[in-house]
């Protein structure tokens, strides 16, 4: 039997939602959509849209809002596909919104267990789409596939056991026919991984263990049995380099976070960028930003792929302003260091050696009494995205100028319990502050900064309109890309912990940012 109701409106047929890999690969050809976490595979978080620009941004105003139901930090970077926005929300929910009106088309909610082990709330940073399926990680470490048209569950696989401290907060990355997914739980002595799943069936095709285990190169960088509880998570979305067919994904801190006594050595592949073969998960290269980290300086932030001029030659760079306070430009085809320098005040290393390895100063580590160090455990920047504008060639980072008194404590591993070995106290001697900093991508040299009264916990986006959007505390703002001058701001009334995006709906440009428990969507009339 056929369904009784059929459509008799060929002129108005909306496109079926369908985003094959090739569309994401060629995201540059459809600037109106935002098809993956960072819009495209480069991680640049740059949109060529220019309807909203320096000339009219002062008239930017709210178009519609969407309010989440569960009160927790709202960190999503939505995706937008042909007039539908997909938003993941605290509390294991995903909603599909009509971008024209902001109204809900469908909503999926998955009951989370009550006995979660979390460091930082029931957050989720977004979904991925491939074909007509939406993929999202659940806070209890499952990967879930939904019909993009209806929100109906297609499959649900456990990545790891949440009772042991595993969770999932980052957006998946769809590459070829795989869904690549990281995990969280770095404060629970977990064993980190990056997984590749068959997008159709949910079957795990590969797992890259982020801790070099027995027989792996680098295993000798963990003393004793410390590798078994070494953490090294992967909780922010990586990028994909189509030219070399490589996934580049960042990894988190070794555990216990602040006491490295039991894990002598560099602790590979913690705080590293890892290049993986998307078909097999095999490691191609790695670069470790913070060998033997004792400050919880995860290096999971989304890196940025850019082609820039270095000494008269175009170099294929992967750039990252790292939580450890240094900016790094690497050759993304080899993982070799090109240039780097501090982008915030740091007091733990005298500089970088020729290979880019930080030269740690004597006694630059937490102590039982407490050791004053810059940057704080929040780092010179954190999980939220930096942005690169091909218009200016600049790398823009939301930087934190903040110190902390790091202390070392005992750490005994118990399954599913915090495994920290210390922590930090506030340093009262200097008031912390933040800044949007524009860095030369090839070198990390500061071009300009826009100072912020307090450190931010929110990301940036650059646009073809010559704008850099960012946030500080409860304010969302737009800066001039070339000078860093403030062009527009909006008081959102609650803290912003997220990255902005932009898209077209019926040919009109919108800007979206989560603030508090609302997704704010702006336009210019």
């Amino acid at each position: 039997m056929k369904p009784i109701f059929l459509i008799l409106w060929p002129g108005l047929l909306a496109a079926q939602i369908n985003v094959p890999f090739e569309r994401i690969l060629k995201a540059a050809e459809e600037p109106g959509n935002w098809l993956t976490y960072s819009r495209d595979y480069t991680g640049q978080r740059y949109s060529p849209l220019d309807q909203i620009n320096a000339g009219n941004v002062a008239r930017l105003h709210i178009a519609w809002m969407y309010q989440v139901r569960e009160l927790d930090a709202f960190e999503v970077s939505p995706i937008v596909v042909d007039g539908t926005m997909f938003v993941s929300e605290p509390g294991n929910a995903v909603s599909a919104l009509d971008t024209r009106t902001g109204r809900i088309l469908w909503r999926y909610e998955r009951t989370a267990p009550a006995d979660l082990r979390l460091c930082c709330g029931k957050v989720n940073r977004g979904v991925a789409i491939l074909g007509d399926t939406i993929y999202v990680g659940s806070i209890d470490a499952h990967l879930v596939a939904l019909d993009a048209r209806t929100g109906v569950l297609r499959w649900d696989v456990a990545m790891a056991d949440y009772k042991k401290g595993y969770s999932s907060t980052g957006a998946p990355l769809a590459v070829h026919d795989k869904i690549v997914m990281g995990m969280a739980g770095g404060e629970f002595g977990v064993s980190g991984f990056i997984d590749g799943y068959d997008a159709k069936t949910g079957k795990r095709v590969w797992r890259f263990n982020t801790i070099a285990g027995e027989g792996d190169p680098g295993h000798e960088t963990w003393s004793g049995d410390s590798w078994k509880t070494g953490s090294v998570t992967s909780w922010v979305t990586g990028v994909y380099d189509a030219e070399t067919d490589s996934i580049l994904w960042g990894t988190g801190n070794p555990g216990p976070d602040w006491n490295g006594d039991s894990r002598q050595g560099d602790n590979l592949y913690s705080d590293s960028l890892i290049a993986l073969d998307p078909a097999t998960g095999a490691r191609k290269w790695h670069f470790q930003y913070t060998p033997h980290d004792v400050n919880d300086w995860d290096s999971t932030q989304t890196p940025i792929l850019a082609d820039v001029n270095v000494d008269g030659k175009t170099r294929k760079i992967v750039a990252l302003a790292n939580r450890n306070g240094f900016y790094f430009a690497l050759d993304r085809t080899t993982g070799k260091f090109i240039a780097g320098r501090p982008f915030v005040k740091q007091t733990w290393a005298s500089g970088l050696d020729e290979s880019g390895r930080p030269i740690r100063l004597p006694d630059a580590a937490p102590t039982e009494e407490g050791k004053l160090m810059w940057p704080s455990l929040g780092g010179g920047s954190n999980w939220y995205s930096s942005t690169f504008s091909p218009r200016t060639g600049l790398y823009y980072v939301n930087a934190k100028e903040m110190a902390a008194i790091f202390h070392k404590g005992a750490a005994e591993y118990r399954e599913g319990s915090p495994f920290n070995g210390g922590g930090q106290r506030d340093y009262k001697g200097e008031e912390p502050y933040g800044a949007v900093r524009a860095l030369e991508t090839a070198t990390g040299k500061l071009r300009w900064e826009y100072k912020l009264h307090s450190p931010s916990h929110a990301g940036l986006m650059s646009t073809g309109g010559g704008l850099v959007f960012g946030s500080n505390a409860t304010t969302f703002f737009a800066l001039d890309e070339a000078k860093g001058s403030l062009l527009w701001r909006f008081e959102a009334g609650s803290v912003i912990d997220a990255n902005p995006i932009t898209f077209l709906s019926e040919g009109k440009q919108y800007i979206a940012i989560p603030a508090g428990h609302a997704l704010l969507v702006f336009s210019v009339d």
Partner: protein
């Protein structure tokens, strides 16, 4: 359908008491706190749990034959999905055996308009230029309406763009199988649908 050991929304007793107290947002399940004391809520939770221990009634019919009818003669997959694979005109049936009783499933096949699922109100709208569209209503307020067609495409209209919005209350897009299936075939199809219980087979939900 509470006569099963594992409740989808209430994996543990804490969650069950919370549901009885607060209801389930976005569904017909009301908050119980207004009508029941805390003690009564605890007793109700215990009763609900006891239902999961009752041995289910045997379902007549041959589920394997019903599965063949689902895929073949009944053409159910044209409009319904299992695990998100299949049509989108009607509700997903992955766990229909958990959500609905045998009697309810039979009635839905014989007389689809006896009770309609949520979010499947059929609407027909006409645009200012005379063209019209039919689908199920996803959302509506004073100013706009969102509709999904039987192919899964979503549409959104400002009401100022529409001349008519016709709501076919009590109507279902589903045909009756009363005459198109023989009585034994119907019994087999019901047996198959009643067997769709992912939690009983240990499948992930």
């Amino acid at each position: 359908m509470l006569t099963r050991p594992k409740l989808r929304r209430a994996p543990d007793d804490v969650a069950l008491v919370k549901i009885l107290t607060d209801g389930i947002r976005g569904t017909e399940m009301p908050a119980g706190l207004d009508t029941m004391s805390e003690e009564e809520i605890r007793q109700t939770a215990a009763y609900v749990r006891s239902l999961g221990k009752i041995d289910p009634r045997p379902v007549p019919g041959n589920p394997e034959a019903g599965a063949a009818l689902y895929r073949g003669k009944g053409n159910c997959a044209a409009c319904h999905s299992l695990r998100g694979e299949g049509g989108v005109a009607g509700p997903d049936l992955t766990d229909i055996g958990e959500r609905r009783s045998v009697d309810y499933i039979r009635e839905s096949l014989v007389n689809p308009e006896a009770e309609l699922p949520e979010n499947y109100l059929l609407v027909s709208v006409t645009k200012n230029d005379g063209r019209s569209l039919k689908g199920v209503r996803l959302n509506e307020d004073s100013f706009s309406i969102q509709i999904r067609d039987s192919e899964g495409r979503s549409y959104s209209f400002w009401k100022t763009e529409l001349t008519t919005i016709e709501k076919q209350r009590g109507k279902s897009g589903m045909p009756s199988y009363k005459s198109s299936l023989a009585p034994l075939e119907l019994t087999d199809l019901v047996a198959y649908l009643a067997s769709l219980k992912p939690s009983a087979t240990g499948d992930t939900k």
